[in-house]
Symmetry: C2
């Protein structure tokens, strides 16, 4: 999770939104990155989708069974579903979608029940890891004069 936080900090420095993630397999970092929606003009480039794509490319497979994804924030349904399709069995996250909403990100347009509903698929979900540090990322991001949510 510290690696995911560092990725988010890099993202903030680069003018991106404050979300970082990484994919780990057998204790080894497979892929890390941050949200690059603005940098790549790609609305799908949330941190989790971005690192899943990198992990697929790096490992040469679309099957990430046995991997864990760490994210500084609770995955949105797009990211959660991408995690599902990739066969990632474990999600560890820090801040909640509600925390992101409090920081100015759109959360209300997606049902709060969705993640739990999808969670029935059997993915292990660990929440609140390094939560204070992950929530603080939002504050650091808001201190940038050019910060912009979507």
């Amino acid at each position: 999770m510290r690696s995911a936080v560092e990725q988010a900090l890099s993202g903030i420095s680069a003018g991106q939104t404050p979300f970082g993630a990484c994919v780990v397999k057998d204790g080894r970092l497979v892929a890390g990155g941050h949200n690059v929606v603005w940098a790549t003009t790609d609305i799908t480039a949330h941190a989790e989708v971005h690192v899943i794509r990198k992990a697929c490319a790096g490992l040469g497979t679309v099957d990430l069974s046995g991997c864990t994804i760490y994210s500084t924030c609770e995955p949105c349904p797009m990211c959660f579903s991408a995690i599902h399709w990739a066969n990632i069995g474990r999600i560890v996250y820090g801040a909640s979608i509600e925390d992101a909403g409090n920081a100015g990100f759109d959360e209300l347009r997606i049902s709060n029940s969705t993640l739990n509903d999808l969670g029935k698929a059997g993915i292990e979900i660990v929440s609140g890891v390094l939560k204070d540090e992950c929530v603080r990322l939002f504050e650091l991001w808001k201190q940038r004069p050019d910060h912009q949510a979507y």
Copy 2:
């Protein structure tokens, strides 16, 4: 929708899964494509996500307000959420997720209620357009000796 079907046919010919999509704005085709999960070793490259990325790149914006997305199959929650984030206000699709499941695609691991639940966000959804042609894509795909779902 005919353009989306043609994209799916191209995908089948290229050894990909039988899903096509396109994004239209003001009656003009903005982006078209098919599922390229196998071609790009990217589990997130469903047809809808792929064309949203292309539309963002083509229009130079992450805001696809005013666009309609046509898909040969009902979007999965990943794609539906990507459509949501892109501010696309209208989805037109042919075959259902159940049809895809009948053809051998994994559908059971994601709750059937998810799409309707997310649908409360206010996206207009038109189903069953050219449904027979869209379902037939699955048959054409299964006739290929190298066909492979995921």
